[in-house]
């Protein structure tokens, strides 16, 4: 058991190091850098000597390996460096922006799960064929709609036309409604798609025939017996969903003008703020690792057959 844990931790550390190094090299390969963008801006009106001095202060032209070593050493100590554009330490930036994004993302995921469940069950239980087919193609529509367009349309309809939810100066609860809805739609799509497929497949299993023979109704069979079996494929795409959540958060936060990691990412990309981008890459990699670990731990709980096989191996 401890061997497996140590193994997993070692793997996780390797993944994080690779992510860090790869992002460092790729960002350095880009032309220009954050300092150039911020201070070369004509609006600042700085002379070339002043800009050269600023570059010296930031150590922007030090050799590559020196910058890498420096950055790595700092990260190991928990210091992600300094955001050139915002002028604050990256840790402070993350501390203020991570909680709102986590809140948005977790609520978005929750609503997405409910939405996907609703669509999947409706599609499976639909009485008419045309209805079933329409509902089955709904996930494709949901994923095809661009997130920013959806966000703007929701604002126009619910905030400006129907005046149900204010966009400016909303209360805490009001501020979450539209962004969560916007974020939930593209997340619910793959969930719904997979759930529909796996519900269909699980329904063909022999134990379903037994349950029906014993007199259970179709929906009761789906809910009590089939769902647990159908959940496993859904869990496996949890990592993909996490990536979609991050991407969705970037667009949603920009459209709604709310603070969060997504907005920070978007601005860091525009300004080539290397320190911030690397911190986000490391955080995202850590997130993936944790989610995969969580899925591996939860899967045997959902499907006891996995538990027995892991026991056999151990």
């Amino acid at each position: 058991m401890t061997a497996t844990i140590a193994n997993r931790i070692g793997q996780a550390a390797l993944v994080l190091l690779l992510a860090f190094t790869a992002s460092f090299l790729l960002l350095q390969a880009l032309p220009g850098d954050a300092i150039l963008i911020k201070y070369q801006n004509p609006e600042m009106g700085l002379s070339p000597e002043q800009i050269a001095e600023i570059r010296l202060r930031y150590g922007a032209d030090a050799p590559l390996w020196a910058q890498y070593g420096n950055a790595l050493w700092n990260v190991l100590q928990g210091n992600f460096g300094y955001s050139v554009q915002a002028g604050v330490p990256v840790n402070a930036l993350l501390a203020t922006n991570l909680p709102p994004t986590l809140r948005l993302a977790s609520l978005g995921l929750l609503v997405a799960v409910l939405l996907a469940g609703a669509v999947a069950f409706a599609a499976t239980l639909a009485p008419f064929r045309w209805l079933r087919e329409a509902l089955q193609s709904l996930p494709s529509l949901m994923i095809a709609v661009p997130v920013f367009w959806l966000g703007i349309m929701l604002i126009q309809l619910f905030s400006f036309r129907l005046r149900l939810v204010p966009v400016i100066n909303p209360s805490e609860l009001q501020a979450l409604i539209l962004p969560v809805a916007t974020l939930a739609v593209p997340i619910a799509a793959p969930l719904a798609q997979i759930l529909i497929r796996s519900l269909d497949e699980a329904e063909l299993q022999p134990f379903v025939a037994v349950a029906r023979a014993k007199g259970a109704s179709r929906s009761s069979v789906l809910w009590h017996h089939v769902l647990r079996n159908a959940l496993l494929p859904v869990l496996t795409i949890a990592g993909v969903l996490f990536g979609e959540l991050l991407a969705g958060a970037v667009v949603t936060e920009t459209v709604f003008g709310i603070n969060g990691l997504g907005r920070v990412t978007e601005q860091a990309v525009s300004n080539q703020d290397t320190a911030v981008l690397q911190a986000i890459v490391v955080l995202a990699a850590a997130g993936f690792v944790l989610i995969n670990l969580a899925v591996d731990l939860v899967a045997p709980l959902i499907d006891p057959r996995l538990q027995r096989s892991t026991e056999a191996l151990a």
Binding site: G45, Q50, G87, I168, N169, G257, N259
Partner: protein, 548 residues
């Protein structure tokens, strides 16, 4: 039997009394609409968050929107007459060659933390603005040239000395970059001034709270009593508070205004103006009175190093088409290098006439023959140019694309590049990669031309000694003229020189001015008293909200 006093009155008297009652009510209502109302909160939507509130960083419009309410300046430039009038300084003396300025300050002015705004505070401010502070990372203010030192003569008198004539300094004391802050603000590092709550000024509003990157609340300063004489009223601001909310998405900003969720917004594109005006809301378009929105050539690039090519491209540009297709009545066509509302403007529209035949003739003369695909070539080289769009300029991408179409008609190809900021910033320093660059500067003083073209300032032409370390090209005659403007103490001579440099720039076809770029805002009809400084920065001191 009950007595009804009213009915007992004679009928004409009844009518007269009723009429009197009604008229007094309606007059009262009319008066209420015209008289400023004290109180209320203005909800102002900004497109971008502020970056830093060090006053010389106020060139960036989101920064200046805040700085203009919380800081005051020594002088006030009347936006209508462009004259410099007293504000924190009651009077001033300038010596004959503009190397010494003495300001007498208005007594009784305090910062919002209670400390007095005296000569020592003003001296400290300008020492930092004029000389910078390397240790703390404060850059030198763009508007201040040749600063040497300050001297406190008495608590209300301060003297500034310059190493060379600085005729633009008086106007420089009125720009947003010279907002006076409490000396304690300038003790910390530059980055700290990104936090608005740290800025202590003497302005009519004070920063109350802030959520960085999202919103900011200002509240009125009760004891404010030192506005400029001609600004509109005295005493504290009418508003109780202003809420700045960052709303990056255009449609959300406009929609919020029209839905009544916001009162005033900045940045509204020309194509969105009709929907705002259709609902009875107001477009406030403030001129920036500086160098017009233009494309500047980098003559170091051999393709545009030939005067005839530049003249041809100027003749091939149809600014009328650009303005009428992409913009609205608020964006006047350019008729010179600087705006028609700018100081020292001369009408040079004859040099900017649209003449595609002349363009073709010039290009033929320069030896560029039309190739098989319609693009001219000479000695195996195609006449193909590139330019990166300039994001702060409105609809710049569309402007460049339309320009590209117009130039294609005379056989020149213009590639419009978006590019991320990194490659755009880097390539803009290389004339071979970017023979053309869009530019614009807002400042209501002839020094603005020097700001744009001089090598050690913005260096649009990429001359030797400027931002491009590998530059070999320069125009000493132009630089001499620019320096002369910045150092000529006599006002009339200075304006003459300004006219001369505009003619010179257009004779050499270094720049193609396109339109006079305004700052465009939109406001609800119940918002009264919006004011702008000389370059379109909003002032909310006089603003009052009519009851809706």
């Amino acid at each position: 039997m009950s007595i009804h006093p009213f009915k007992m009155l004679q009928r004409p008297v009844q009518v007269a009394v009723t009429a009197l009652l009604f008229s007094s009510v309606s007059t009262g209502a009319l008066l209420a609409r015209d008289q400023p109302v004290q109180g209320g909160t203005l909800v102002y939507l900004e497109q971008q968050a502020h970056t830093n509130l060090y006053p010389p960083a106020g060139g960036f419009y989101p920064n200046s929107g805040i700085l203009n309410q919380i800081t005051d300046k020594l002088t006030w430039q009347n936006p209508d007459t462009l004259e410099i009038e007293p504000w924190l300084a009651e009077s001033w003396d300038v010596n004959s060659d503009a190397t010494e300025y003495v300001f007498k300050l208005r007594p009784g002015v305090t910062f919002s933390d209670g400390t007095p705004l005296d000569a020592a505070a003003v001296a400290k401010n300008f020492d930092v603005f004029g000389l910078g502070d390397k240790e703390r990372g404060y850059p030198v203010a763009e508007a201040i040239n040749n600063y040497e030192a300050s001297e406190v003569i008495d608590p209300l008198t301060v003297k500034f000395t310059f190493t060379a004539p600085a005729p633009g300094f008086l106007q420089a004391t009125s720009v947003i970059g010279s907002g006076i802050v409490a000396p304690s603000v300038l003790e910390g590092p530059y980055e700290e001034l990104g936090d608005a709550t740290k800025i202590i000024g003497s302005g009519p509003f004070v920063v109350e709270s802030e959520v960085l990157g999202q919103n900011l609340t200002l509240k009125a300063r009760e004891d404010y009593n030192w506005g400029p004489l001609n600004i509109g009223h005295e005493g504290r601001a009418y508003l109780d508070a202003i809420q700045f909310i960052v709303t990056p998405e255009d449609s959300v900003r406009i929609g919020a205004l029209l839905a009544g969720q916001a009162d005033f917004i900045r940045q509204i594109q020309a194509y969105d103006e009709p929907q705002v005006e259709a609902q009875g809301y107001l477009i406030h378009s403030a001129p920036t009175r500086g160098v017009n929105n233009n494309v500047t050539f980098r003559p170091e690039n051999p393709l545009v190093g030939d005067l005839r090519v530049r003249q041809a491209l100027t003749a091939a540009t149809n600014t009328e088409e650009i303005v009428s297709t992409l913009f609205s009545a608020h964006y006047p066509r350019a008729t010179s290098v600087i705006a028609s509302t700018a100081l020292g403007y001369v009408d040079l529209s004859d040099r900017l006439a649209f003449d595609p035949d002349r363009a073709r003739a010039l290009l033929d003369e320069a030896g560029w023959t039309v190739g098989a695909d319609g693009i001219r070539e000479k000695g195996g080289t195609r006449l193909e140019l590139s330019a990166y769009e300039s994001l702060p300029q409105p609809q710049n991408r569309a402007t460049l694309q339309l320009l590209s179409q117009q130039w294609a008609a005379v056989g020149v190809k213009l590639n419009v590049l978006a590019g991320d900021s990194g490659s755009a910033t880097q390539d803009n320093l290389d004339p071979l990669k970017t023979p053309i660059r869009p530019a614009m500067v807002g400042r209501a003083d002839p020094d603005v031309i020097k700001s744009n073209f001089y090598p050690t300032n913005r260096d649009s032409l990429l001359q030797k000694g400027g931002t491009n370390p590998n530059a070999t090209w320069e125009d000493p005659q132009l630089n001499e003229l620019l320096l002369a403007i910045a150092s000529e103490p006599d006002t009339d001579k200075r304006l003459d020189l300004t006219g001369e440099v505009q003619s010179y720039l257009l004779d050499k076809a270094y720049v193609i001015p396109i339109f006079e770029e305004p700052q465009v805002f939109a406001g609800a009809p119940y918002v009264h008293g919006i004011g702008f400084d000389a370059v379109g920065r909003p002032s909310f001191y006089n603003v009052w909200l009519a009851p809706r």
